[in-house]
């Protein structure tokens, strides 16, 4: 495949891995403890496991899997809200497929569908709008989920619905924004991060400037990274290079996609439709100020929360579930008490096991063979 295979070249990957090894040897800090580099985005987590990137690298550097997986940080209460909406007889509830199996306090959307709720998987919010046009007597609710990557398409759909006067379409908005959450992570006392791989697809929309505070205020190096194996390796090299040279800057490895100023049309659409919430609840991380968006008053009639009212209850995670600690990088997925036993991709307890971008699902699918080695290392340490 053109423009894909080039970024998966095994020989180049090996060469990059060697460069990284050489570079690490010049960093004294890496001899005391492994350097911890957080990949913020779940897309990176998936790539790292799918392509075995951690195994290519020496023990003196390790990936810490960040919270950048929208499905994974969705609190149980919001899933319950989805189900409450979906169970209204007049509602056709539309969602991306990966949210279907996320467990709520009593059931998932998939189980609600089996019990009779009209839940339909769509590939785009525009599909939901189309459904609304085709079913004028039903209320079509779209479950808007994701970071700045998916926000523009949701915003454009609301604008389209407004322009066309589609009255039976609304949005259950759970869009979240990554910047405040990175801030919260950097303020957290139990983390010792040495650098970041920045989220490339979020960067495509918002550009590189919003990440400046990471380098400027917190003094941590960050490289906005692409998602193919060579992208991830090269970005890792760039972050380590900054560490080796004592720099802390925002660098952009993913220049073929990410412009410095982001995408103006996308940002305009987001700004037109959405405004920041005072706070938003993240699974495992708790409430984070200004970390979510809601529909502006101007478009209130497209806001499912205002139109139908949702229970909006705060539901605690199951006691056995350690998603929060995994999300903060305090423990690795396989160190969770229920990993691979009570919690598997088939019967997930926690949302990290649901999405392909979740660290636990990635460990389970691609990493099980190596967890023994990791366990041994953890025990020895």
């Amino acid at each position: 495949m053109k423009y894909v295979d080039e970024f998966r070249d095994p020989a180049k990957a090996q060469a990059l891995a060697r460069e990284i090894r050489d570079l690490l040897a010049t960093i004294p800090r890496a001899r005391e403890r492994p350097l911890q580099i957080m990949e913020v985005c779940g897309g990176h987590t998936h790539s790292i496991f799918r392509y075995g990137i951690q195994q290519l690298l020496p023990d003196s550097v390790e990936f810490v899997h960040g919270p950048g997986c929208p499905v994974c940080v969705l609190p149980m209460g919001r899933v319950d809200d989805c189900i409450a909406l979906a169970e209204r007889p007049e509602v056709i509830f539309t969602t991306f497929g990966d949210a279907m199996r996320v467990p709520g306090s009593k059931k998932s959307l998939l189980q609600a569908k089996a019990a009779g709720a009209d839940v339909r998987m769509v590939y785009s919010p525009l599909d939901a709008l189309k459904l609304a046009r085709e079913n004028p007597r039903r209320e079509v609710v779209f479950f808007g989920l994701g970071f700045e990557t998916t926000m523009p398409s949701t915003a454009m759909t609301v604008l389209q619905a407004d322009a066309d006067g589609v009255a039976n379409f609304s949005l259950f908005c759970n869009h979240i924004t990554i910047i405040p959450t990175i801030k919260a992570i950097l303020d957290s006392p139990d983390l010792q991060l040495d650098g970041f791989l920045g989220p490339g697809h979020v960067g495509m929309v918002i550009g590189t400037r919003p990440f400046d505070f990471i380098a400027g205020h917190y003094g941590k190096p960050i490289t906005i990274a692409g998602f193919e194996p060579l992208d991830v390796l090269q970005s890792m090299w760039m972050v380590l290079k900054q560490i080796a040279e004592g720099r802390a800057e925002v660098e952009n490895q993913y220049t073929r996609i990410v412009p410095e100023d982001g995408n103006a049309a996308a940002l305009d659409a987001i700004g037109e439709v959405f405004e920041l919430r005072e706070f938003f609840e993240w699974r495992g991380l708790g409430s984070i100020d200004h970390s979510g968006v809601r529909v502006r008053d101007r478009y209130a009639r497209f806001d499912a929360e205002r139109r139908f009212g949702v229970p909006n209850l705060n539901i605690a995670d199951p006691k056995s579930c350690q998603c929060g600690e995994v999300l903060k990088g305090v423990i690795k997925p396989h160190q969770c008490k229920v990993f691979g036993s009570a919690c598997t991709p088939e019967t997930p307890l926690g949302s990290l096991m649901v999405s392909s971008e979740g660290a636990c699902a990635a460990y389970h699918q691609y990493g099980r063979i190596d967890t023994s080695a990791l366990r041994k290392r953890a025990v020895a340490a």
Partner: protein, 388 residues
């Protein structure tokens, strides 16, 4: 199909015809309308002496079966697919090829099928004829007879357009022993062509993805291919058609049953470029996509040079090929995937590019760890097309 008994003629005395454009509840009611539908649409197409009498059952002569082997293989499968018609086939193609293949991968010669249909009221008779014509043509290609059947019509909404169940009987030749538990360390894994074509064709036929492609389903019967493979290499260890769940699921089952780990050379996995592209866009793993004309075989590694360039085991673990009745043994049917299937069946296990190998399972060894070129244990193998 319980209509009046008939002398063993192939067609009823006066040809019954269906004039309705749509199937109605009357066509399942047991009266004349139903008889017309059965005789016109089904019996007329399937046309064979065992079905002709329209008894409540087909009666199969045992002696003819016993001449082919010493065990019966018996399987059943229900077919529900949306959409019913897709690039490369339809539900009828699937219903025959799928059951034929389930029999064939035991090494059996598939012989007889049943056909039970559940039709939603209002289904176009013309569409039903198209489906039945596909069944007829695949049955002819696989040289199986559809010898008994059943028709039900349900109210609108009680079923989605058309469901088909087929059961099948085949005979396993004496000495053939294929099982998921037979894989051994050092064995080679082969497939007979590109993977994921069917799954991708169905996704695209549903029309929700706004992707355009001419990817066609690989749906086809594999019985002749299996017969040719067994003739070439009677010691096939494991064999399965990689339908729902794809090649990865089959290999996981082999690995678990045989207690081996399977290492896959990613670069040797045969994939169409457009299937690869669709999988990239949709985040799918082609190893988990459904196939309907692809089998996965685990075979012993190439024996030391034998007289024939083909796999001619020096120590046959099963009955020698001469006693295995496999019609048309020497020719691989042209219907098997152009090039790939034929070459896989005849030469793949002596080809050096077939590198996937089974290793003894030692849980949590790092050798089977995921790296750039090999996926994790028991996720996937295969060989690229081993032409020549």
């Amino acid at each position: 199909m319980n209509a009046r008994a008939h002398p063993a003629s192939l067609t009823p005395r006066r040809r019954a015809t269906v004039r309705d454009e749509h199937v109605t509840l009357a066509h399942g009611g047991g009266g004349k309308a139903m008889r017309n539908l059965i005789e016109d649409v089904f019996v007329g197409a399937f046309d064979n002496p065992l079905l002709g009498p329209l008894e409540d059952q087909a009666v199969l002569p045992l002696a003819a079966l016993a001449a082919l082997g010493d065990r019966l293989a018996f399987t059943t499968d229900s077919y529900v697919v949306s959409p019913l018609f897709f690039n490369g086939g339809d539900i009828g193609t699937l219903a025959v090829a799928g059951t034929v293949n389930d029999l064939a991968v035991s090494g059996a010669r598939p012989l007889f099928l049943s056909c039970a249909v559940v039709i939603e009221e209002g289904f176009p008779v013309e569409a039903l004829r198209r489906v039945v014509a596909s069944m007829k043509s695949v049955a002819a290609e696989a040289r199986v007879q559809i010898v008994t059947g059943d028709t039900k019509v349900v109210e609108r909404g009680a079923a989605d357009k058309l469901f088909i169940n087929t059961a099948g009987i085949g005979v396993v030749p004496t000495g053939v022993s294929i099982s998921a538990a037979n894989a051994r360390p050092g064995d080679v894994v082969i497939v007979n062509g590109t993977l994921g074509d069917h799954g991708t064709a169905i996704l695209i036929a549903r029309g929700q993805l706004a992707l355009e492609s001419d990817i066609a389903s690989d749906c086809r019967p594999l019985a002749d291919l299996v017969a040719a493979m067994l003739a070439t290499c009677p010691a096939i260890h494991c064999l399965r058609d990689a339908t729902r769940g794809g090649v990865a699921t089959v290999l996981n089952e082999f690995a678990a049953s045989s207690q081996v780990a399977i290492r896959i050379d990613e670069t040797a996995v045969p994939l169409r470029e457009d299937v690869k592209g669709a999988c990239e866009i949709l985040g799918l793993d082609p190893l988990y996509l459904a196939n309907e004309g692809k089998l996965v075989a685990i075979v012993p590694p190439t024996p030391r040079r034998a007289s024939s360039p083909r796999c001619a085991p020096t120590r046959p673990v099963a009955t020698p090929p001469s006693s295995v009745p496999s019609p048309r043994r020497r020719t691989v049917p042209s219907s098997c995937a152009p090039g790939s299937a034929a070459s896989a069946s005849s030469t793949c296990w002596s080809a050096s590019s077939c590198r996937a190998s089974a290793e003894r399972a030692t849980p949590c060894t790092s050798s089977a760890s995921p790296a750039t070129s090999s996926r994790s244990a028991a996720s996937t193998p295969t060989a690229r097309r081993c032409a020549g």
